[in-house]
Symmetry: D2
Subunit: 375 residues, 4 copies
């Protein structure tokens, strides 16, 4: 059975892999420095975000993107405000500190950075002048660590707060595809691009072998990125690989096919294809179609599990779904579905995570549900 | 009136200053590297702590000592567990992160690092292996940021916890003099020296112009200190200044005089001198006498303020005393006594700090109390 | 015409790419943490180097490997001795300094670190104790920046020197395949593995999309690597990609086909295949066959250019070949062949580099020579 | 006999020490943050350098000043060009790298950074864009490591070069007093202040217990200094100590006495006093008088040694004097005078250094010369 452990268990979506194979013999200059694929991908992304004045740069993965994005907008004594469960605060082995900068976590527990908590941290950190790390940046993630999807209102609130305090905003978009194609998202890519200092379009968790595309409006980071990506080890010699993948992800029209593995590999892709087609955007870029497909599978899974009596943890309208289960269920589900345990609650209950991706099919979900019904 | 702002408002205690003046014309090799004063101070401190096998090194100040002590016992991806109000977490402008290491704060709110909270942080940080900063060190402060004095039982508990988890222990002793001469302390210097990996005897806040003496049992820090103190800018060219001051502070017998400015400068030092003498250790080193004197003034102040109806914040048996006051009282007291505001409580009340030092006299305290009685 | 700019102009060798395609749909745990491909690749590499007690780890690229390998074996105040043209000293944007460590270049001008120069630097750096960066590591590259191939005698000399000074040795193997298959190399992989603290088998420049495999004997780096690779952004979520590629590169027997693109794509691969076959190791791992093929093309190119009257710069028996040309020749050759300029000599002459790779065919070389004959 | 080992063998010049004693009992706010002595010292230094728009900040020592000044004007991937013997390149245990920045040494062998060599390094470092550390700052020292005094022409040449390449200039003034009062200096303090981005007036080596005063014109460093000095451990709690010392050093008129220990302590200060008086500036600040006195002793020593047949190494018109001696002479001189060995020349000859300071008297020099005559 297909596991629901995470969205980076497989290789690449077939369309992405195909592009890599198709272009494999081409000779390109290295390091993303002007090869036609990177240049085309840059143009496509600029068009997608609706700004000509942004820089588009690539790096090898999410931690690399966070290192460069965050430290590239901070001076030595400055810090970044984020939620306590933020990836940079928890899951990157102190990567920001390793580059000499300080992470300033709030107590927000739902994954969304709130203006109130940001204000509290800011007040505290600026209360004794140069004796404390000066906040200069806000870090948010869409979707959040526990699958939350930012609404426009919520997004505007934190951006407004940051602007009013002269702080920059960095958006970690490792799962931005899933977030923006969520059926509960009213936030658009261009609105994000208009309001943050920098953000990235995650590739690794949305059907690419690897790679993230950074969109940079901030002048300080525009200057920093090309150097930092090399200095911090995130620059790929065969930079064309990033170009080729993002080109395939954002090229429209030329790839009018269905999304993901299920569509490519299944003999019966009608339902799935129809589901995507019903959205009415045949020319939608592959990047969005892959994410939309993952969400669609995640909703089917979520609704099915709820129907079976499983209790959701929080509310997610993205490709990660969290449920509260007993330790016995945890064991059985982990074994059968690959789901991972995120938290142990005070009463001993477990929060487990199921993740759908471009590679998940409806049939996979149905198999999961059938199995879960027996646990 | 003498202000009670902090314990580093004046220059040096007269005995320390005198030693500097007396030795001013001597020629010494630089950098604490073998001049007779540093060597003598090292020997005195080794005797004081009761261990021949420790290294004793000097640096210019507390932040420098914390940088060297903490980062010298951590590898790049390791972190230090401490309370949320720890100096290294709050008041040093991200100095530990600036050296590439991560601070891992607990939620302990009383300044004492508890084994329970340390265990919680440790469990969390080791839950996903190399994706998270690995805790390798525990940082405690005696006295704590809000004046708390570690008991032996409490100290043993955290040291035992650390030992059982194979973590090292670093004790920030910026105010260790006041802590160990507290009338509520049952902890001894030699017991500390037997149980921590490294600690320092703070000079800056106990009557010296500047300087801290690090006592090092840990082999990793023994190797690191000489290099780090230079690399991190904490090594003084005129290293003898540190030797001279710590020599004066820990030489016994030769300095049978009373402690501090009040004793040296006041015409009427009988009471004060008697108070010290009554402790029955005429040969006690100046370092302890200065601290004991500061505590004595602090208790007189504390008891007097309580008698006047002021409400203590927490309980301090050291030279820093905290009180809860109204905003009106805060303003009047700050103006009159130099006390600083530490916290604004949820109900709007203020926590202010009064600090006594070697330079405080009983008369100063009485003047403070008289004034406070009118506020 | 195929350019001779570098050995990372194309994607992957067909056998590598094929392995990626073939395994694309498999689900694997992430981060190189135990998936079957990484585990198999580790076992193959351990067998290849002839040591069971080494750790084998993977990261995304050469700069990443250098960052982790070098800083993982240095404490904060320690430095690495290398030649002045070493990649870490010149072409990595200060990556080692960015991690807080110091590069200590010698004046060796031929790319080989000599014991004499290492001794000079060591003497100097240890002459004033802790006031200077302490050398703790030696960094060498095989093949060198200008194509030099280390002999066993030369290699033993620097390893002996390092051992006698209690320094570790790190070997940057970005082009180790080409070096060890050079017809002038008498050095073996197992001899290297027996004598250095750590080294890596470069994938990026030998037919993989990306990736380097670090072989670690040193206990300090064994402990460090898993954390540093995450903290420094070099860990890939889809770690299996590294496993799959190195598995394909070092699996024997199962891949009895010819090396590289030319063999795979050319209709007439007889000569090439025969050339490889004549080496008498049909079961030689793909990694070596790809490199041997690159060398073979490079020699043909070198000999042809010499015959045409071009003057070699230094002597290279590896896949990079350097020639001294006039500015006019430089322009014409760069345009026609993609060769890059490395140095401008004092007399205004240029040193240009031609690089052959797994993707180069004999026909490509002949085309180059024909063209060069007209310049 | 007084040793000539260095200019930081003694404590403080009597006038400085006296100021510390005189102000010892005053209560001041900490951290150089607004106490009257720091404020007065700032005003005096601004007047001395002839610019109202500079920031004047203090830190505990020279390495600290170099760390803050250099890294405060560099972004993460930028580097500083300096001579190979520059203090930051050799004698600070990799302090700049420890803060993540790269030192880019030239091959200038005489201590003076030349535009030609700076240009060569700049050309090289900018030849492959972001793959190499970008030079952004020039670091010079006056007087140089081997006692050289910058002329105005030389100084203007390097500043012009830096300006034309959009690089900043940092001047390490650890011995700026000696340099500017040299009888061969035609450079003025105000000219320096008009042309560099930042520099410091060294206190440690010119009669203070410790401390350097940074004069900052550069906006980037103005913003950085207050934070970096705390984050890097260079901020003193008793900041007033720095204020008091620099106030005493730059206050005019009120201190019409002679310079240094010899003048203060010798019964016969006539000659010395006359020598200073003859310069015709009775109101010259103590800072300059101390330095001028050190130079005067150094010249007497130099001329005397030359007369005795000793051979100078290079030419110094400042308080450090270098001579080439035999190994036998080296031993005898080191023992008798404390002189230190700087270099061992290729022929086995030694370069030894004699240093005069505010604490040196004419009688001390004569004693040295008498002794040297017997060696």
């Amino acid at each position: 059975m297909r596991m629901f452990r995470n969205d980076y268990s497989e290789g690449a979506a077939p369309q992405i892999l195909d592009a890599l194979v198709r272009t494999n013999d081409e000779q390109c200059v290295g390091y993303t420095e002007g090869d036609p694929h990177c240049e085309r991908a840059r143009a496509l992304i600029r068009a997608e975000v609706g700004r000509d004045d942004v820089d588009v740069e690539f790096c090898c993965g999410g931690t690399s993107a966070n290192i460069i994005g965050v430290t590239g907008m901070l001076r030595d004594w400055e810090g970044v405000i984020c939620t306590r469960d933020a990836h940079i605060n928890v899951h990157e082995t102190g990567a920001i500190a390793a580059c000499g900068r300080t992470v300033l976590p709030t107590t927000d527990a739902d994954g969304f950075l709130s203006p109130d908590e940001a204000e509290r941290v800011w007040q505290f950190q600026t209360s004794t002048g140069r004796h404390m790390t000066r906040p200069a940046l806000v870090y948010i993630t869409n979707s959040t660590e526990i699958g939350g999807v930012w609404t426009r209102a919520r997004f505007d609130a934190i951006c407004d707060w940051a602007r009013s305090h002269d702080l920059k905003v960095f958006l970690d978009g490792a799962r931005l595809g899933s977030a923006l194609t969520s059926d509960e998202s009213d936030l658009t890519l261009s609105h994000i691009a208009q309001n943050v200092s920098a953000f990235y379009l995650g590739g690794t968790k949305n059907g690419m072998l690897f790679g993230e595309a950074m969109v940079i409006a901030d002048p300080m980071l525009k200057e920093a990125f090309p150097y930092l990506v090399k200095e911090r080890g995130g620059l790929m010699a065969k930079g064309r690989l990033l170009g080729v993948q993002f080109e395939a992800a954002f090229e429209r029209g030329g790839n009018p096919c269905e999304a993901g593995r299920s569509a490519a590999g299944d003999t019966d892709s009608t339902t799935d294809g129809a589901g995507i087609a019903s959205h009415g955007e045949r020319s939608e870029a592959l990047y969005w179609r892959l994410a939309r497909h993952a969400n669609s599978c995640a909703y089917r899974m979520r609704d099915g599990l709820v129907e079976l009596g499983f209790k959701p943890y929080g509310h997610s309208a993205s490709n990660q779904q969290f449920f509260v289960v007993t330790p016995e269920q945890e064991r059985a589900l982990a074994q059968a579905t690959g789901c991972e345990t995120f938290y142990v609650l005070d009463d001993g209950a477990r929060v487990v995570r199921f993740v759908a991706s471009w590679a998940t099919s409806e049939a996979d979900v149905d198999e999961l549900l059938e199995l879960a019904g027996t646990i």
